[in-house]
Symmetry: C2
Subunit: 105 residues, 2 copies
């Protein structure tokens, strides 16, 4: 359970949550229509309602998306705090990407 550091686990968890085009599409859609969108996500995606709900659950448990009950429907939006963490962790990885063998030798 702890062969990897906490940051490594968390970075991987964020990446894994984004590791499906449907979830990328959900995030993009939530970011575009800045207001909270509800079940419209189902109409945008080529997936059944149950599958969309499953993807939303994945994003929610990763801390990237929040959901608020609003009457009979549920209102989703991006979770700013989770995105800050993800940006920090993933950005730190990308910034250190320096090539070596191809050019140096």
């Amino acid at each position: 359970m702890d062969n990897y550091s906490s940051d490594q686990e968390r970075t991987a968890a964020f990446a894994r949550a984004l590791g499906h085009p449907a979830r990328i599409a959900i995030v993009e859609h939530l970011a575009q229509t800045r207001a909270c969108v509800c079940g419209d996500i189902v109409d945008v995606l080529p997936l059944a309602q149950a599958s969309v709900s499953q993807h939303l659950k994945t994003l929610k448990s990763a801390g990237l998306v929040k959901g608020e009950v609003e009457g009979t429907s549920v209102c989703y939006c991006l979770d700013e705090r989770g995105w800050q963490d993800a940006q920090r962790l993933l950005g730190r990885l990308a910034s250190t990407a320096v090539e070596c063998c191809g050019s140096a030798r």
Copy 2:
């Protein structure tokens, strides 16, 4: 096969490639020891050699890592071009993360 845009597929592919702590650890190790490292990765990780090779293959086919044969061993390093793409695609996602329901209402 093409229900999602090319960028969405590519973003998800990068994210999925990073969606495992072992691969995060590999990337970090390659970034730290800026020079190319070879089978030392096996010593660093709590995995068998075959498993490490499998993770390296995943990173390689995602375009995040390059491998160069160097005698009897293989020299790995980060692929700068792939990381630029990943940074652009993932960064574009994170930058648009604006909260809504919690604060706005």
